[in-house]
Amino acid sequence: MKINGILIHPGDNVAVALEDMHAGDALNIRGRGSVDVLDDIPCGHKVAVEDIRAGSAVIKYGEAIARAATDISRGRHVHTHNLATEDM
């Protein structure tokens, strides 16, 4: 099983894809098993490793990086289209 995803902090609810992925591919994360991705995911982008409810924190580096704008299912691409971020 080729490792192609990384969970940077054990408390994170998103992993990072280490290669370009297509919907239906398996994201294999060392120590965390495998997640079937539901969207096309570009390399370096985030994938939900658990269901994230609308309004709850998206956690990467062990910290909240944004809030989910909609319910995000395990395996979904997590990016600006489904996150509420502060305007800089």
Binding site: I3, I8, C43, A66, V78, T80, L83, T85, M88
Partner: protein, 381 residues
């Protein structure tokens, strides 16, 4: 592992430095370096014509002269500069480090000054050549943390791996210093929560707010390119995510103190130094703060080192490691192939221990020390 200094610090290098306090006498410092090749001239572009930075530049030059890796300093002044060589020399002398000062306007011009300063530098090189390394605990290390020329992988591979090494140094009783306040914008609520006390938390919020305001003032509409996620295509979704990708190189331990640019920490543990994101100015600040060793992550690749502080360059990908083999010390790209962050942290730790014992880094081997770039907040007059 290191050379004991009179102030109780431990150097992992044993340099004699020649410091011009004003750029007008850079040429004299260079003549000294030519006459005494084992002395290191720390050329820079400042020393006069600025009002607000006089104290900061005096303290920073004194801080670099007092870096544990420096055995002794020869200061070259002109005589009419605002960053006074005598003031800097006095700070160095009070800390017990060997120092000599020569003023070009008083010694008979450039060549005579260079001759006298060369004699002093030569005597210092001879004296420090008799020093021997002794065993020292890791607790005596102050580790500088730097990232520059980052790419989409920096926050995934190199920075988190360096963060693990920073945690190890802190856990061993040492100190790790993270700077580049511009790259903390958006995370003051996260970082202040990690502060050991209320005062430190307040300072964290203040310096990040100031950096945010200043960046917007200086850059205007361009600010979003610098402080907002520059490249959404790379997968960054928020300013918090982008900044966390930078500061994860500082690991996860509590923040014990916030110090100003180039100031020496008074507490051990993880320390935040308020400073610019420009690598070259940041490196000078870390050297002045007393870092004996700097871990520098890069994604695009940079050869930059610092004249008296070994800089270990950590490539965020195997592609970069292979593209700039003479400049990269460690390949963190294994993380992208499924290796653990711990395995890369182990490789960095082993290299760091070797460098503490004298092994040269790529930047040292290739003489990529460059000139010293001092941070300035106001224009010159």
């Amino acid at each position: 592992m290191g050379y004991m200094r009179p102030d109780g610090t431990v150097g992992i290098r044993n340099h004699v430095v020649v410091i011009p306090t004003v750029a007008c006498v850079n040429g004299v410092a260079r003549l000294v370096e030519r006459a005494v090749p084992r002395a290191v001239a720390l050329l820079h572009g400042h020393g006069c014509g600025r009002a607000m930075e006089i104290g900061m530049h005096q303290d920073t030059l004194a801080g670099i002269a007092l870096n544990p890796n420096v055995a002794g300093a020869v200061l070259i002044g002109l005589g009419c500069e605002t960053v006074s060589a005598r003031v800097v020399a006095e700070k160095v002398r009070q800390a017990g480090r060997p120092v000599e000062v020569f003023m070009v306007q008083e010694e008979g011009g450039s060549l005579l000054t260079a001759r006298k300063a060369s004699d002093a530098a030569s005597a210092m090189v001879e004296a420090c050549s008799r020093m021997e390394r002794t065993e020292c605990p890791l607790a005596s290390i102050t580790l500088g943390l730097e990232c520059g020329g980052s790419d989409a992988f920096s926050g995934i591979s190199a920075n988190p791996a360096v963060g693990i090494v920073a945690d190890r140094i802190v856990d061993a009783g040492g100190t790790a210093v993270v700077s580049e306040t511009t790259e903390m914008i958006g995370t003051s609520h996260i970082l202040s929560r990690r502060a050991v006390d209320k005062e430190t938390a307040g300072r964290i919020v203040r310096i990040i707010d100031d950096a945010h305001r200043r960046t917007k003032e200086i850059l205007g509409p361009l600010a979003s390119l610098v402080i907002a996620p520059g490249n959404m295509d790379g997968g960054m979704s928020s300013i918090q995510e982008k900044s966390l990708g930078c500061i994860c190189k500082a690991g996860s331990r509590p923040i014990s103190e916030v110090v100003g640019y180039g100031a020496r920490p008074t507490r051990r543990g993880l320390v935040v130094m308020d400073g610019p994101g420009y690598d070259m100015e940041s490196l000078a600040g870390l050297a002045s703060a007393g870092c004996q060793l700097i871990l520098f992550t890069t994604g695009r690749g940079t050869p930059a080192g610092f004249p008296v502080v070994p800089v270990i360059k950590i490539a965020s990908s195997g592609r970069l490691f292979e593209a700039m083999p003479d400049d990269m010390d460690i390949d963190a790209g294994g993380v992208l192939e499924g290796h653990t962050l711990d395995s890369v942290a182990d490789a960095i730790t082993l290299m760091a221990l070797d460098v503490m014992d004298g092994k040269p880094t790529k930047a040292e081997i290739n003489c990529q020390g460059g000139i010293v770039c001092l941070y300035a907040l106001t224009p010159s007059f």
